[in-house]
Symmetry: none
Subunit: 215 residues, 3 copies
């Protein structure tokens, strides 16, 4: 059973709405990882002018969450945390957009045969879900890593060196890291940091500004 090899540098050159790019740390070093999300019901999620009553009838009063991609328990919990946070973030941003609240959501992390675990994709999953809920692609060529707490705090993660190298290898030149990992980044050798734009995030709101507002 040979491992599939990508001919291009990465799986997506352009990510559609609902997809975000993260950085993972595996036994074999760092790698770029994509989070894919989709609604499983065709709600009029993006018709923000629709009355609450109509949306409720179409989709049921509350949504659901399906997870695939051979995710471990901690990563499954990360998806649950990301959804709760993304719902409240979207509620603040646009109270009329009920898509994440009423939508039935499927989150998948390719490749399906590779086991994945850990909390460090938190920011990436929140980003995918907001992109889905807003029906808006994220800023291209930005990869990120960082655990996210239920209130949107960005917590430090491991493998900064491997992840940064993976980003460069995939031709990604803007990276978002947790604020608490600033020292780990600063300790890297200059030739690794060369040509890279790095943002450090304390809360998810910092990530959002870079990913969605700067467009």
């Amino acid at each position: 059973v040979g491992k599939p090899v990508y001919t291009s540098d990465r799986m997506y050159e352009l990510t559609p709405p609902g997809v975000s790019m993260g950085l993972a740390w595996t036994a074999n070093g760092g790698s770029v990882l994509f989070i894919e999300s989709r609604f499983t019901n065709p709600i009029d999620a993006f018709d923000v002018s629709s009355s609450d009553e109509k949306a409720d009838k179409t989709s049921g009063a509350s949504g659901s969450l399906i997870l695939t991609g051979k995710l471990g328990d901690v990563m499954k919990e990360s998806c649950t945390i990301a959804l709760t946070y993304a719902k409240s973030f979207l509620q603040q941003l646009d109270p009329k957009n009920r898509s994440l609240r009423v939508g039935h959501i499927h989150v998948h992390v390719p490749e399906g045969a590779t086991p994945k675990d850990g909390p460090s994709a938190g920011c990436t999953i929140v980003t995918a879900l907001l992109s889905l809920g807003l029906n808006k692609p994220i800023r291209q060529d930005v990869a990120m890593t960082g655990e996210v707490s239920l209130t949107g705090r960005v917590l430090p993660v491991g493998g900064i060196k491997e992840k940064v190298i993976a980003a460069k290898r995939a031709n990604v030149h803007t990276v978002i890291l947790p604020y608490e990992n600033q020292k780990d980044y600063n300790d890297l050798q200059d030739f690794i940091k060369d040509g890279l734009i790095v943002h450090f995030a304390k809360t998810y709101a910092d990530v959002y500004k870079i990913i969605f507002d700067d467009q």
Copy 2:
């Protein structure tokens, strides 16, 4: 796989509504731990003047509870106990506030990859839930530990020394301990107790007075 180290003393300097600060006892000694809680549905929970009928329609007749943070079985049960108790406590306090009864609640304990278990976060979880239900931050710089029973009795816990040291290390100078642990605290050396204000609680009502009423 190095463990991330916080450069600041603790994750939250100021806790928002729904978040409380506890003291945990791990294999590596004591540590400060935060309980985060959020509603996953945007109910008009704090519109205490809303009629029951309206709130019921918005959110369904009864709430639900999602738990994340790699919690063991005993800690999951602690969350269930804390919710039942917090509901009845809030009902006594303000019968019109239906938030905890009808809200869909998510409780998370960062960091997501660290397994946590045991009953000693009971008081801390009740506090987070009441802060959420009242939409009111808790008194800052107070950490607590204590099992809580279904009727709000505060039961003694282990690791008092380690927990008190962890509080001081995190610059927390007010600590709430179970009344039954008074002797354990008194046995500590003076240099540990120096500069610390300690309250001993027999029931959760004692904790509430310190956390919410003294503001």
Copy 3:
């Protein structure tokens, strides 16, 4: 990892409605054990004059049961049996009191980290539930042990000697034992039986008379 030790003889000096006192038999000998029960919804359970329709609307058509306290499978089944029996007993006693039938009930057995199992808390659980449903504290300073069948037969249990000693140690001087354990009690040495009032119960109705009617 030291086990917390109670400075007082027992967790409750006075038990509120919904709480009863049992006798348990553990690897370390006998001990006093409390069963705590609470409604998780604020039904007008005690407004026995409320019409069925109103109560149904407030609380949903049928109740539910949540169990916590690290209970084993047999003890969980004991709770289920106790609830079925307590419902029918209360129905006989006061057909208008629908509290146990429509209430969402939470039964907890402190302390939360101690595993508990076995059927011998049956009578104690029925008593806690009737106390909850009647909103009436049980007679103080009475502890009991005994398996209960679905029709209210009280079945014999083990550890009579250890349980009786535990009751005396906790300053409890009235004990209810299964009728079938009379011989085990009679075999105890006189200094153990001294100062103790013992009732032997064949059915739960015998227990009820002592716990609720004699007040």
